[in-house]
Amino acid sequence: MTNSFLFIAFPYLSVTIAVIFTVYRFTTDRYSYSSYSSQFLENKELFWGSVPWHYGIIIILLLHIFALIIPGAYRWLLAGSRIELFESIGLGLAFLSFVGLIILAVRRLSDSKVTAVSYATDWLLLFLFLFQVGSGIYIALTYRWGSLWYLNTIVPWIWSLFSFTPDSSYVVVLPMIVKLHILNAFFLIAIIPFTRLVHIISAPIPYLWRPYQIARWYK
């Protein structure tokens, strides 16, 4: 019962909340969509925190998604001795983002101007991400070749969720820390619309092809 709630109902619930409230916030309060950058108040430490954090986490997140979407190509990538290289890179990126996160946390605590613009959700996000990246590193170090067993446990589980034939048996056997990693991930997804995380959705990719100048006409 608990397992089917945590690994079937909760993921559905979290994604539903994320979609509905993100759309709701976008339509009713678009003004509140912002990265809420504090660079203007503190510039130097931010560089050493924000850059490694973002580059680390974005690549790792994309790799998680990549395995999910194209498992075949991912499996080929891991074949033979390549897996060692692959995991070292992954671990390196994880450490990079973890160190960035710690610098960001220390900065938020120690710089009084940044503290002044910190909201409860900012602290919550810092805490949840520290746990998420920390548990990820712990899993990578203690349960070897996570990149491989991820493919045979979590990937089919998420696919089962996608195809509306949920099967929690793939993940219930996993160690506690992995379960927490999964649940925390879905919790993070659920709170996207209630935090500054909405800036992920606003990633300004169209900037790459739009013309430099923009004019708006009445008609």
Partner: protein
């Protein structure tokens, strides 16, 4: 020809007394809010000086404006990929320390302090953290501080001067300064628009006012670095960037922008100009010395029949064309050619023009005391010497050229000669001690005539409010028509959206 209209401005620096009334009018109206306390959409700077934010002209550091790479015009902050890859922490962005930390005073201490021998004081506290601070900078902190080692001597424009000229500028007896009021230039080729990753900044098609869509801005802060004039500001409270809106709600109702209306020296002029939008990129792509000329070339003659026909064909209303014909800015900038853009070398084609200040150039030091007349001159030509000592000018022409003409001193020289001719002519009328020969010579060197001199004199010294500000009809009703039901807006007030401008989550 792709004709568009642009609200443009002229500031006559000879008339600026540096009273900051414009800044206060703007502050009271628009930026007296949390997160915006430090913003001065309009500010007045003492020159030579470092300005606000500190050394904003130093583009090697701030990377504002455009540059030509090969044959391509690019934001100085580099290309699109570079912007996105640096979005997590944009290195050239100024921080609050480059402006100043806003503060208030703990006034309640004055009333609540326990009885004692000392006078209670109200300690300054930061408006960001609420904690006591030591005030180290503030609005117009460098006011009138010519010659100071931390402000005037660090002016980036002094780089073009020789060591000797720089020393002369700092000699106590020659100390000189003038004021530059600055606000958003509502450029034809705005770099803030080009560097905004969200595409939130836009130019209004009908009048050229540059605005930041507050609902589209995501706080990526690139516009702050991108604008070479540092006239886009990041609101640390709302997570959005803000800038001068040229008081568009006032303009749309036929009122003059607050900074201009309140100007004590009446230095400000506002009018509409027609320009050719197809020429923008090419005119920003030429070498530094041609920039002013090409920019003036993009501005079209509103009296030219061909221009009028084309403008009408492109849907520009007759009233707007008439406003363009009556525009005081067109007269200063195109007809008389006595106003120049600030730092044209930033290549944004700014549409705020300045008449360079004449006053500080005319006084001269002779044998230890101030003498406005050159000692070598003869009595009859005192006034000629007085107005002709360009080479001995207190503010080196090179310095003004570095501000207004990308280093081309001949542009400044032409303007001065014309303005001097105007003064001589008016003197010949009011005082009557200028010979016809001298006058003729002055007109020749100034490339002007009696008729033009009178027009320049009138618009400089005696203009009515309707001559200073020629506001074209903005056809707001049509804008409303195209977005919604006119009856919803009938007799309604207000604009924008109704949510409070603050961070909520």
């Amino acid at each position: 020809m792709n004709i568009r209209t642009q609200i443009s401005m002229v500031f006559h620096l000879d008339k600026c007394i540096g009273c900051h009334t414009c800044s206060i009018a703007c502050k009271n109206l628009w930026t007296d809010r949390k997160g915006a306390e430090y913003m001065w959409w309009n500010n007045v700077e003492t020159k030579p000086g470092t300005g606000y934010p500190t050394k904003w002209e130093e583009q090697s550091e701030y990377k504002g404006g455009w540059e030509i790479k090969g044959d391509i015009l690019k934001p100085k902050m580099r290309g699109r990929w570079n912007r996105l890859l640096n979005i997590f922490s944009s290195p050239p962005m100024p921080t609050i320390d480059d402006y100043y930390e806003p503060w208030t005073y703990r006034y309640e201490d004055l009333f609540n302090a326990p009885e004692g021998d000392d006078q209670p004081t109200a300690r300054p506290i930061s408006l960001i953290t609420g904690e006591p601070i030591n005030i180290e900078a503030g609005p117009n902190w460098d006011d009138d501080l010519s010659g100071s080692t931390i402000y005037a001597r660090n002016d980036p424009n002094l780089e073009s001067l020789t060591d000797l000229e720089r020393e002369q500028l700092n000699e106590l007896e020659r100390l000189v300064f003038f004021y530059i009021p600055r606000m958003c230039n509502h450029c034809l080729n705005p770099a803030c628009v080009a560097t905004c990753p969200s595409g939130a900044i836009y130019k209004r098609g009908e009048d050229g006012i540059v605005l930041i869509d507050q609902k589209k801005c995501r706080g990526w802060r690139m516009c702050v670095s991108g604008c070479p004039y540092k006239k886009s500001y990041y609101n640390w409270n709302t997570g959005k960037s803000e800038k001068c809106i040229l008081c568009f709600p006032r303009l749309e109702t036929g009122q003059v922008p607050a900074c201009m209306h309140s100007c004590v020296g009446r230095i400000r002029y506002l009018g509409v100009m027609l320009y050719d939008a197809d020429k923008i990129e090419d005119s920003a792509k030429v070498s530094d010395d041609k920039l002013v000329d090409t920019q003036l070339d993009t501005i079209l003659d509103p009296f030219d029949e061909k221009v009028i026909t084309a403008a009408k064909a492109q849907g520009i209303y007759d009233e707007v064309i008439i406003a363009a014909q009556n525009s005081p800015t067109y007269k200063f900038v195109k007809q008389w050619k006595v106003a120049l853009p600030l730092h044209p070398e930033f290549r944004t084609l700014p549409m705020l023009f300045y008449v360079p200040p004449l006053s500080p150039i005319i006084a001269k030091m002779e044998s230890g005391k101030f003498d406005v007349v050159n000692a070598d001159s003869t009595a009859q030509t005192d006034h000629l010497q007085l107005f002709h000592s360009l080479a001995d000018s207190r503010v080196p022409i090179k310095y003004l050229a570095s501000l207004f003409s990308a280093g081309d001193t001949s542009k400044i020289d032409h303007i001065y000669k014309k303005l001097i001719a105007v003064r001589l002519y008016m003197r010949s009328i009011t005082v009557g001690d200028v010979t016809q020969d001298d006058l003729k010579k002055a007109f020749e060197t100034g490339n002007t005539n009696a008729e033009e001199a009178v027009m320049i004199y009138r618009l400089t010294s005696l203009p009515s409010i309707d001559e200073r500000f020629v506001i074209p009809p903005m056809y707001r009703e049509e804008a409303i028509e195209s977005f919604g039901d006119v009856y919803d807006h009938k007799s309604g007030i207000g604009f924008g959206f109704m949510q409070k401008a603050e961070r909520r989550l």
